[in-house]
């Protein structure tokens, strides 16, 4: 059974803002990346999963229970880091952790302290009002982990952290994943998603435009090779071969060829008849994949 299920979720705020027919499922132990720029509908979807807002149509479930109207039950297993963390006034970091621990029925605060140690936040006893963005974020992360929840819903969790700390946080996520936690990670930091997620959905203007396994990006069945020739005219000569060209550039005397893994031997055989300066694999990154869906945005917004 899926741990988090979003079923045909629609919430229309007008002016094409909101979410429209969003559906996805996250299975036990899976890390699901939710990728999209600000205003694409990531946070709106998350608010539904936490039971903060009522869908116009469609439903969201956590552990098979509808979240709207049952959030006090479904949130028990959830650790949540909001996109923009705001804490109650006049409280110290430690006060907040203690208070939320009490509200969550946590037996002790060991987990929270562990996270604070890992993120190297030393003065959690300071008033949150005087804390920097990064420090607040660390408190927020500790709050999300304090009751050792089975599900983590993280809305841009590493915003405000310096690059070093972002790496530490990624490591923390990997550990959680190893413990079998189910994680929804909303982010626009590609490296973070690339390193942790099993599956990714890209959301654009409130609709999911594609979803895929990270394996398809990391270990695609297709490979693309860039070939640069050392002898003039070679690019024109090879263009006559029966190959799948991703790019032919006569000016620079080079081509990009996409082949199935099984065809690599054949490609090498063909290439042996040409004068080659270098051969390199062009790896598909998540960012490139993402840009395929977003690069058209300026020209009318169609996918």
């Amino acid at each position: 059974m899926s741990v988090i299920q979003v079923e045909n979720l629609t919430k229309d705020y007008g002016d094409r803002r909101g979410v429209f027919g969003v559906s996805f499922e996250i299975n036990q132990g899976e890390v699901f990346g939710f990728l999209g720029p600000n205003g694409a509908g990531k946070t709106t979807t998350i608010r539904h999963i936490l039971g903060f807002i009522k869908p116009d149509s469609g439903k969201t479930y956590v552990n098979g229970i509808e979240t709207w109207g049952n959030a006090h039950n479904t949130n028990r297993d959830i650790g949540y880091i909001p996109g923009e963390i705001a804490f109650p006034e006049k409280m110290t970091g430690m006060d907040i952790i203690k208070w939320l621990g009490e509200l969550s029925g946590a037996k002790n605060l060991d987990k929270a302290k562990e996270v604070l140690d890992l993120l190297q936040l030393k003065n959690a006893a300071a008033n949150v009002k005087r804390m920097s963005k990064g420090m607040k974020q660390k408190i927020g992360i500790a709050c999300a982990f304090l009751h050792d929840p089975k599900i983590l819903i993280l809305d841009e969790p590493s915003s405000g952290l310096d690059p070093l700390m972002q790496d530490t946080f990624t490591e923390l996520l990997r550990r959680q994943k190893a413990e079998g936690k189910t994680i929804l990670l909303s982010s626009h930091i590609f490296s973070e998603v690339e390193k942790t997620c099993d599956r990714v959905a890209i959301i654009k203007q409130g609709e999911i435009v594609t979803s895929f396994h990270m394996d398809e990006i990391k270990r695609p069945k297709f490979k693309t090779f860039k070939v640069k020739f050392s002898k003039d005219g070679e690019s024109r000569r090879i263009a006559n071969e029966k190959l799948n060209f991703a790019e032919i550039n006569h000016e620079k005397n080079r081509v990009r060829i996409t082949v199935l893994d099984a065809q690599i031997k054949g490609l090498l055989k063909t290439l042996s008849a040409y004068e080659i300066e270098y051969l390199s694999e062009t790896k598909l990154t998540l960012e490139q994949h993402f840009m395929k869906f977003y690069s058209t945005q300026s020209s009318g917004g169609a996918v």
Binding site: L50, F52, I53, E84, I85, A86, L103
Partner: protein, 259 residues
Amino acid sequence: MFSKPLFKKTIKDNYKLWLGITAALTVMLVLLLVMTNSVINNPDIGGRPNGGGGGGMSINLVLEQFYTMFAMLLGMIYVIITANKLIAAQIDNGSMAVLMSRPVKRNQVSVTQAVYLFGSIAAMFSVVMGVGLAVIGATGLNIAIGGFMLLNLGIVLFFLSISGISFLASCLFNVSSKSLLMGAGIPVLFFLFNMLAGFSGMAEFMELFKYLSLNTLFSVSDIMAYSTNLIWQFIILFAVGAGCYTAGIWYFKKKDLPL
């Protein structure tokens, strides 16, 4: 229906204003009663022991001044600020997200905050009443104990209705400015209409204003005279208060929280 951790935090967040207003009201009442007592017992300005009419000073007039001016104004300040802070301000600044993402029911949150708001008002006037009774006992002022206690019950019922309106406003709106527009605007209008109604001696139509204000339902002279009007006056104040609190709790349960 109630969250102890939330209640503890709410007390911590709001007790300072409560203490300040309660202390101010208590000090004012003590001063007024002691001054009245000394005027009444001072034969130089024509006071008669226990006569109540010394120097034109009527004890009922003093109580009227205290309850319809000081208690109403300071109480309103407390209610307006606190009601907004309890719900709407926490949605406005987003800090309610850390609370609502925990295993708490919407009703638990709203009922806990409502209990604090009304409970703190009841506690405020219990303190005022307790100190007032002590001063009356010590000075031997000629004030009917029953009437004085009824006066405090009346002001608590009055603030049940006023705080109900402010609480409802806090539940209805997600931004403080809107919550305050209703939650402060209506009580302030009531207060002003009540003052305008006081000019009914000058022009008859001014009396119409008394029907536009809940404040007229708290009448010191009616209470001290044990008027039968009290019954429906108190019933209306209670009904408005209970209705507004219930509506606020109901609406908070079903509304979208933009957290």
